[in-house]
């Protein structure tokens, strides 16, 4: 359809006028600042309001907290990316017999039916948190595939308090997302939800029914 392209661009170019670009005043975006501890509290409040659950942990015990959660919830298995930094740590520490740790290191097509029907939970790390609204930023990819945080009915996400930014705006800048992005980047603020029936909130419509954040207190 190069003809369509040429025609569309020609029409747009014929109409483009040399008006100066209006200035961008971003003061309203830059105004959001909180101290580190407050950022974690805000994130938690924002995400709990939309049914996200939190588990508190320390840098040394978070893998145990994940195992404790799996045991308590009775998960038969936990899908994870064995080659991510968090995945390696989790795999190394795993000693729970009742929950099988399932590595997601092979193409989705090789276990698609199992992924859709018999995985109880998925574990991922995160690259950042957002204080203003509550939210997690993830970079799914080779070590932590995209469907890890989507298809299993429960999503366990590891968040380090030191990586919580003021807002999406400040995180995008700090992480340098503006310049280039991997094939997928993602913001998640809670479990999947809908209000399409009479504006009544219902959770777990297509994505995970539950989101559990393992919040690692690594401040100071």
């Amino acid at each position: 359809m190069t003809d369509a392209r040429t025609a569309i661009l020609a029409r747009l170019r014929a109409a483009t006028n040399p008006d100066p670009l209006p200035a961008l005043d971003t003061a309203v975006m830059d105004r959001r600042h909180w101290a580190a501890a407050e950022r974690a509290a805000r994130l938690r409040k924002g995400m709990e309001a939309v049914h996200t659950e939190f588990l508190e942990a320390t840098p040394s015990n978070w893998a145990a907290v994940v195992q404790g959660c799996c045991a308590r919830e009775g998960f038969r298995n936990l899908l994870y990316g064995p080659n991510s930094e968090a995945g390696q740590a989790l795999g190394g520490a795993w000693g729970l017999a009742t929950t099988r740790l399932m590595p997601y290191d092979h193409p989705m097509e090789t276990f698609k039916a199992e992924l859709f029907s018999s995985v109880d939970a998925g574990f991922t790390s995160t690259v950042a948190g957002l204080a203003e609204t509550g939210g997690l930023l993830l970079l799914p990819g080779p070590t932590e595939p995209r469907l890890l945080s989507l298809v299993p009915p429960v999503h366990l996400a590891l968040l380090r308090a030191s990586t919580i930014h003021d807002s999406f705006w400040s995180a995008v800048k700090a992480l340098g997302w503006g310049r280039s992005l991997p094939a997928n980047a993602l913001l998640i603020s809670g479990p999947s939800k809908t209000a399409d029936i009479e504006q009544t909130l219902a959770y777990g419509v297509h994505g995970p029914k539950r989101l559990l954040v393992i919040l690692v207190n690594d401040l100071n």
Partner: protein, 477 residues
Amino acid sequence: MPAETEVPFREPAAKALRDPVLRANFRRAMDGLVAKRKAQFTDSKDLQELRDLSSAIRTRSLLRLPDLLEQLETSCTKNGIQVHWAETCEQGNALILDLLQAHGVTRMVKGKSMVSEEMHLNAFLEAHGIEALESDLGEYIIQLDGETPSHIIMPAIHKNKDQIARQFSQKIKDAAYTEDVDELTAMARKVLRQKFFEAQAGLSGVNFAVAETGTLCLVENEGNGRMSTHVPPLHIAVMGLEKVVPRLEEVAPLYAILTRSATGQAVSTYFNLISGPRGATEMDGPKEVHLVILDNGRSRMYSDPQLRATLRCIRCGACLNHCPVYTRVGGHAYQAVYPGPIGKILTPQMEGVGARHELIHGSSLCGACAEACPVEIPIPELLVRLRREATHPDPLSTVKGNGSGRTFGEDWAWRVWAAVTKRPALYRLAAWFSTRFGRALPASTPLLKGWTRDRTRPMPAPRSLSERIRSEGVPHD
């Protein structure tokens, strides 16, 4: 200019007004959405600054539109996203059909996309033997009944829980009747999970496209958008050509104001940034990603400096929620893909101002839409402009159907009016007749009938003002 086939608004609107269930459904929903939005914008100064910023970002993007589209194409191509262009909906549909057929696709799932509604893509694909299944819960509900969306964000808002409960029990296999929203949602989840699993392709819209990074941004709460774009091996995204912004940084304010304006959420559950297909070392994601950029009248809107503001729209639906007309008549009365205030300026520009003459007049110009608009589109001003375009033929106009809303009756009425007001003697005579005999005119008199159908009949004074001044003088105290 010959009149185009006119699509009515008056009659469907009147019919909707007589439906108490429909009116209650909309009233409840719109009041809820208005309150939720208000709760998000507690600081009016912040809101105004964010609106000014968002409006400036959209205006800047439009000023550089052709360059940004080319840059987007280059960045996407570099990322492995294949870019296609379509001037018309027919071209877009044909292009998507070709892609699907080339991949042997017979089952496709869809994330919510208003552009695909604009293209009537589902019906087109079904006619070619391809299942195009809506997976957004609201869209799924209306697709089950063969309906069109009645709201751009909440497509099934015209239905209440009881209606959906009945519908599910009749149309979903083995479904028991329940009015429990969680159970209804669970039913849809079960059906659609299987569809995501089986789908050979997924189609989505695009909320923002970032030129610099070649990124397609998708805002959603349900996860069906992620399912549609990450599970099937082929992902096709469709976007109107106005959706591009220069940099990801500029997306942040737009995203912040979009979710707050639309559903009163500080943030959506998911914000999905797609910058390419499955990489060589990735375990999942689509093997191919295609982007279809649709014009369908947008470049025509673009060519008019005033009407170009229409393209600033980020499709939040706030203007619908705040509109006194939309709240009362609902979305279907508009008989258009885009209802409400934004639809009133968008649809006539796409289909012709003559064909949509009733629509551009179906507004009290109260301005609630412009006040709620996150990107400050002056909708009432644009409506007035379109009204003028409909009745004033102008060879230089780029508006579709310019002059075609002119009717013989109205034309002559204005000519007679002009002739009378330009001749003082004639004017006095006409005033004398209407003051003396105006009251005696039956309500069924042409012209008067149109007014008295829905309103109190106007009563002329027994003597005109100028007569009274002449006989009584003007008191100076």
